[in-house]
């Protein structure tokens, strides 16, 4: 174990790994990642890995579009195929009111260069031939949204970071963060102490716990979300199909399996990672409402992961005012994978003192105390 580091990152998921990569790329020599388990153990290895640009606020649209631009060149940049594919996102509307909201969002997205559009039920059926369109008022569609392999993306970032000198310690839980006069001094792990003035909390589902170690009350909580996946089949449809009303998302991923997930409004805060039969049942019923031919397909696996949620379902990006040197990239509320490249790049710029390409001041930790929540209508809860 090293004795000291310029920056210590807690968490080797997609967020921690990509921050490490961008820090090293910015020229930092002593970056360390501490991972309690192993890379991809947490939310990254359990996520749906959809990549969507259809957002309702300018900041989110820009973060997402910037991320897609990075994703496009990422396999080449990192020297590892992350299986990025742009099959689009089809966002179903369930009411005229929702369709109106989508129209406003599409106008915003188009202004920012995102090629989304409103489609009729007939067009939606052309895009997803197995879609049941009865009672569907319409949908929003963006052909450049997509999907990547979350394991490969995480590991690609990690390996590239390691090639640039980043050190990864697996199975090394952080048990303490030393803070003196409001400044970070070091990190204590089960394997020893590392002296550092900069710590990054990229602990995903355990962000509040890591915050406590530095004496910070971070208003994030974790919530179980589940996914199930079917046997592989030849291509049936390209885009991710989602509904903000039911919170459902469903996509056929490159191996041919159909992956689907859905939130549960009654899910209590917890770190529960066990799968439930109730999800299996509810998910099957909901997905058959919109994609009825899937009734012939066998489910082969189900699992659970954690959403790390904030009160406004928007992430916390930046340095804590009360503890200098304590940076955060947490609380992504289920959308961390898709905006990881850009947010991590921005945080790396903030740490090295460079100018970030997009301002994320609105995503500070202190916004909750000030009551300045970010209102984003387009989240999958």
């Amino acid at each position: 174990m090293v004795k000291g580091a310029e920056v210590v990152i807690i968490g080797a998921g997609i967020i921690g790994s990509s921050i490490a990569y961008y820090l090293a790329k910015e020229g930092l020599k002593d970056v360390v990642i501490l991972e309690r388990e192993y890379p991809c153990w947490g939310a990254t290895g359990r996520c749906g890995a959809g990549i969507r640009q259809q957002w309702g606020t300018e900041m989110n649209c820009r973060l997402a579009k910037g991320s897609v631009e990075i994703f496009k060149g990422l396999s080449d940049e990192l020297g590892y195929d992350i299986e990025f594919e742009q099959g689009g996102y089809l966002v179903l509307a369930t009411s005229q009111a929702q369709l109106q909201l989508y129209k406003r969002n599409v106008a915003l997205q188009n202004r920012l260069g995102i090629p989304s559009r409103i489609v009729t039920p007939q067009e939606a059926k052309e895009i997803v031939p197995i879609l049941k369109t009865d009672g569907l008022p319409g949908a929003a569609y963006c052909p450049t949204d997509g999907h990547a392999n979350p394991f490969k993306t995480n590991l690609a970032y990690l390996r590239a970071a390691e090639r640039l000198g980043v050190k990864l310690y697996k199975f090394t839980p952080v048990v303490g963060i030393e803070v003196k006069d409001g400044m970070v001094q070091g990190v204590i792990t089960t394997a020893g102490r590392i002296e550092t003035s900069k710590v990054v909390n990229a602990a995903g589902g355990y962000s509040a716990e890591v915050g406590k170690l530095a004496g910070l009350e971070i208003p994030t909580h974790s919530e179980r979300h589940q996914i199930m996946v079917t046997e592989p089949l030849d291509g049936l449809f390209d885009p991710m199909v989602i509904s903000f009303t039911s919170g459902l998302y469903c996509q056929q991923v490159p191996p041919g399996s159909i992956l689907m997930g859905m939130g549960d409004p009654d899910e209590p805060p917890s770190h529960n990672l066990s799968a439930s039969w109730q999800f299996l049942q509810r998910m099957a019923q909901e997905v058959l409402r919109i994609l009825p031919v899937l009734k012939e397909v066998r489910v082969v696996r189900q699992w659970a992961g954690l959403y790390n949620k904030t009160p406004d379902a928007q992430p916390i990006i930046g340095e804590a005012e009360k503890v200098k040197g304590f940076y955060m990239a947490i609380g992504f509320s289920g959308h961390g994978f898709m905006i990881a490249p850009m947010t991590s790049y921005i945080l790396a710029r903030l740490i090295t003192g460079g100018e970030p390409p997009i301002s994320v001041e609105r995503l500070s930790l202190e916004r909750f105390e000030r009551g300045e929540l970010v209102i984003e209508p387009s989240v999958v809860g």
Binding site: E231, L233, D234, L236, G256, V293, V297, R298
Partner: protein, 104 residues
């Protein structure tokens, strides 16, 4: 090939029935796994691997290994090592990962 004489066993075979394999009419016994009837007819290659198109056959016989997935009566990914044979079944080599919707 069927075992005709066995020192210990006698085989209680079901009704002799016919089915098709890739359009060819074959015979088998009702209720035995489709794969047994195919093996008897000398059909050893049941599917092709997805990436390298390597031949794959019967392997575990208990529905666990997915080496024998075939299309049966239009339905893809049927494990023929455990699926009972029925009169008139349409058994086909499946292309790729299997099509859920039959295209004309």
């Amino acid at each position: 090939m069927r075992i005709v004489q066995h020192p210990i066993l006698t085989f209680a075979r079901g009704k002799k029935i016919s089915f098709t394999f890739d359009g060819r009419t074959l015979e088998g016994y009702e209720g035995e796994p489709i794969a047994a009837a195919l093996h008897d007819a000398g059909v050893k290659v049941l599917r092709r691997s997805i990436r390298l198109s390597r031949p794959r056959g019967f392997f575990c016989a208990v529905g666990k290994c997915s080496s024998c997935l075939m299309k049966v009566d239009g339905k893809p990914n049927v494990r023929v090592c455990i699926e009972p044979l029925r009169e008139g079944m349409r058994v086909e080599t499946q292309r790729g990962k299997g099509e859920l919707i039959e295209r004309g």
